[in-house]
Amino acid sequence: MSKYLVNKFLYTVDRDPELVERYRTDPAGTVGWWEKTQANRILNVPEAEASTWLAFEEAERAALVAHDHVALFELGAHPFLTLTLFIAMFERDHPEPLSYQKAYGQALAHLSLPYPDIAT
């Protein structure tokens, strides 16, 4: 499991307006580029001192490429990060107020407590 890295992807994309749009329109390209060039960057540390060991597991990579928020929840990604980024990408396609947020919840309706562990 690399929940931390999935969260790092969601966090770093969410805070960058250009990356939000790029991930919306080209998820496979964005995830591939990010894993290759960004995954091992320690935030707030010069590039030369990057990490050497971080990579997605296949299920994580696939969930990110598929924009599959249900799978991300089931994998233990931090739900606040997923929700915030997905609202930024897809709320615009659902003009009725809160309809995207409600549909997002309904897509998770099969889940019951305890939810997947989000501890990293």
């Binding site: 935030l43 929840f73 990060l81 809160l98 919840g105």
Partner: protein
């Protein structure tokens, strides 16, 4: 010594700013009632005539990140810029700039470290809506210096609920021991039951109205014993997956003290989550 002239605990609802400023067809049907409740709540702070605000909140993965995550952090800076791009994007929150109070920050840091809390600190902190929402609701002039205190209710492993209560007690003691003639208000925000990014989110009420009812009673009555007897890190998953934010209410109950009833209690049942507002006057209600 400094006086604690008001203790305030509140939910921090990022939709309030947009709802309260919307007009015409954009204005939600609950906005007028919400604004009226907030204006009454704001008056409870205004009447206390504070000089400085100690503000407890929780960073929502803005500046604080999983590569370096403090449990309890005190800001010590002359200025705090506030609100973030994703809060402008999702909630329409304005950017703010708040003056800091470094002397009180230093006092709380030194005293906290000497009282068993190994507090982290930040000399350059951009604060988020957990602190700016109560500025918008309670002090929209944003004209008082602040001491921001962040707690981790967000990224497990989290501190135990009793530590939030103990930190609240310690903050109260430290402020009252601050050699100053300043009038201090201690304000903290959290959540009642809340679900974010899970199946129970954005329902017609908060995800657990029964928890919300009991929580309001605990807070209003200062029933720390009852609250600590029921609330654990595990139990807080049951009312909703973001309900650990309730521990910031527990911190504020620690500030107010065991068995001390709030002087102002109000709530508003909204979609998605219940709003709740509490004010205590440790030295009696101001004239």
């Amino acid at each position: 010594m400094a006086q604690v002239v008001a203790i305030i605990a509140s939910t921090h609802h990022p939709f309030y700013y947009r709802a309260s400023t919307a007009v015409g067809d954009e204005r939600p049907p609950f906005a007028d009632e919400w604004v009226a409740k907030i204006e009454r709540f704001r008056e409870t702070l205004t009447r206390a005539r504070p000089d400085v605000l100690v503000m407890v909140g929780s960073d929502h993965f803005h500046q604080l990140w999983l590569d370096n995550m403090p449990q309890f952090l005190v800001g010590k800076a002359p200025v705090y810029d506030a609100n973030w791009y994703n809060e402008e994007r999702e909630f329409g929150l304005p950017r703010l700039r708040l003056e800091g109070h470094e002397e009180l920050s230093s006092h709380i840091l030194r005293g906290g470290l000497d009282s068993g809390f190994d507090l982290a600190f930040s000399n350059e902190l951009r604060i988020d809506h957990s602190i700016t929402c109560p500025i918008i609701t309670l002090r929209p002039e944003a004209d008082l210096p602040i001491v921001p205190i962040y707690t981790n209710i967000f990224a497990p492993p989290l501190p135990q609920p009793k530590r939030f209560v103990e930190l609240g007690r310690t903050i109260r003691e430290l402020v009252e021991a601050w050699p100053s003639d300043q009038r201090v208000a201690i304000i903290g925000t959290g959540h009642l039951s809340l679900e974010l990014g899970g199946p129970r989110q954005f329902g017609p009420h908060g995800p657990d109205p029964d928890f919300d009812r009991r929580a309001v009673e605990w807070i209003a009555n200062g029933d720390l014993e009852g609250c600590l007897g029921e609330v654990t890190l595990d139990s807080l998953h049951l009312p909703g997956n973001a309900t650990h934010g309730f521990m910031d209410f527990m911190l504020m109950m620690g500030v107010a003290g065991q068995g001390v009833r709030a002087d102002h209690v109000d709530s508003l049942d909204l979609f998605h989550t219940m709003e709740a507002y509490f004010t205590w006057y440790p030295e009696g209600a101001p004239a």
